[in-house]
């Protein structure tokens, strides 16, 4: 997507906007799904995000990447969706343990039913824990933990101050710790290699 095409879309050329939709649709869906945990909601979020982007395209001046701008809009739409969902059904996030991805399973040489069961238990607890988060906490945590966004970016996407974004992530971690703490035991603190970043 080059600047000329973005400019065409800004002038109202539907074909240029179509290219934007087709280029960024999947990435926005991925973001929306990770934030909301629900495919149908994620689809609605993506549509809403593109509608908003289309309405406000003239305000995009190219200083940010188009993808970053779209992600910001989609994150905001996802937060709105989480808020709407919380008002309707606070228990919505429950997810089938069977649906959890292979990444939840520890690396083993062969199937270990006990470990798999424990892994599934943790995955289910994560989902339960996510339902305890407020929309802001869930949105901020998803952006931080799943998307690797900085506090600054989270703040911009969700309309918070940077400190507010940090607090939202921290509160989310605290709540998840309460839900998962009994399942996750530190495995030999002294043996761990301490690093500054995410392991």
């Amino acid at each position: 997507m080059n600047d000329a095409e973005v400019a065409r879309a800004q002038r109202g050329d539907p074909e240029a906007f179509r290219n934007i939709v087709e280029e960024h649709g999947r990435a926005l869906f991925r973001l929306a799904f990770r934030m909301t945990g629900d495919a149908s909601t994620a689809e609605d979020v993506v549509q809403e995000a593109f509608m908003k982007a289309h309405r406000n395209l003239a305000s995009f001046d190219g200083r940010a990447q188009l993808g970053t701008w779209l992600h910001r809009i989609a994150a905001n739409c996802a937060l709105d969706a989480l808020r709407r969902r919380q008002r309707r059904a606070p228990e919505h996030f429950a997810q089938q343990v069977d649906d959890m991805p292979p990444g939840h399973e520890p690396m083993t040489e062969g199937p270990d039913p006990e470990r798999l069961a424990r892994s599934a238990e943790i995955a289910a607890a994560v989902e339960r824990g996510m339902t305890l988060l407020t929309p802001i906490e869930r949105a901020a945590f998803s952006l931080r933990h799943f998307e690797g966004r900085s506090s600054q970016e989270i703040a911009e996407a969700l309309g918070l101050r940077v400190e507010g974004a940090k607090h939202a992530v921290f509160r989310a971690v605290q709540k998840l710790r309460l839900t998962l703490g009994h399942l996750v035991a530190p495995s030999g603190a002294d043996a761990l290699e301490i690093e500054g970043g995410r392991s």
């Binding site: 109202g12 939709v21 990770r34 990444g103 002294d190 970043g197 995410r198």
Partner: protein, 272 residues
């Protein structure tokens, strides 16, 4: 050593920031971790916890996702453009928009009865040529927007999906035929009977598109209620082959570009 002892132990919030690589004092925290087994245990627990929380597996929306998404979005975006352009037209033309109705009425009356509506004529006399041109282009944009929404619906087969058989599409097409003729006539009059050679670059191609639209709209307006799928497919094929929608959008784009002020630059990433 005394420096280490004087440094306060990092809080849980700081450990979380440290984990995500956003600590404001990373070296101090690392030194504190080296010095305190209790802190190492806390940090290890945090890493274990957060390490267990992996992103949910995102379902594959399928290879056609972008196309499907566009198919769902296109009609809504077209409607959005209609609303936006209508708002723009009202802003640009302001109170003069009401005058357009009178002018249009005068045109219709003049054509149907051979008489000019006196009120419209009086108002029209009071308008400058520039104002008349702007009103005409605002009306043209509005008509093209409406036609675009209709054609997108036809292209996507929404005319049937909307229910009511073909009746709704037929009556909509009939309305569009009327406004199409009205515009063609107004363009003809504005050019002093010079046909397509209307003054002003932004009107280039407008007459051609309107001429192209009319037989298609007429055909739909006069189609039987039980229009066969094959006939509808033929209409769509013609729409595609002639590139009517593309040319219509190109004219919209050109009118919009040549008659709108440049968008005001704003700061990057302004929230939608």
């Amino acid at each position: 050593m005394s420096e280490r002892n004087s440094t306060p132990l990092p809080s849980d919030a700081e450990l979380v920031e440290h984990f995500y690589g956003e600590s404001e004092r990373p070296q101090e925290i690392e030194r504190a971790l080296e010095a305190s087994a209790e802190l190492r245990t806390r940090y290890a627990a945090l890493r274990e916890l957060l390490g267990r929380i992996v992103p949910p597996e995102v379902p594959d929306p399928g290879p056609e996702y972008g196309e499907e998404l566009w198919r769902r979005l296109e009609p809504a975006l077209a409607q959005q453009r209609v609303r936006a352009r209508s708002a723009l037209a009202w802003r640009v033309a302001g109170g003069l928009a009401a005058v357009l109705v009178l002018l249009a009425g005068a045109f219709v009356l003049g054509r149907s009865s051979g008489q000019k509506d006196e009120r419209a004529a009086i108002v029209a006399q009071g308008l400058s040529q520039e104002s008349r041109d702007r009103l005409l282009l605002a009306a043209a944009l509005d008509h093209l927007d409406q036609a675009e929404v209709f054609l997108v619906g036809l292209k996507n087969d929404d005319v049937r999906a909307a229910g009511g058989g073909f009746t709704l599409a037929r009556s909509r097409a009939a309305e569009l035929v009327v406004s199409n003729r009205l515009l063609r006539g107004s363009l003809h009059e504005a050019s002093g009977g010079a046909g397509e050679n209307t003054p002003g670059g932004s009107r280039a191609g407008l007459s051609v598109v309107l001429e192209d639209l009319e037989p298609l709209l007429l055909e739909i307006a006069h189609a039987p209620d039980g229009l066969a799928q094959a006939d509808l497919d033929m209409l769509r094929a013609r729409l595609r082959e002639r590139g009517t929608l593309i040319r219509l959008r190109a004219v919209q784009d050109r009118i919009q570009r040549e008659n709108s002020p440049a968008p005001r630059p704003q700061r990057a990433g302004a929230q939608a």
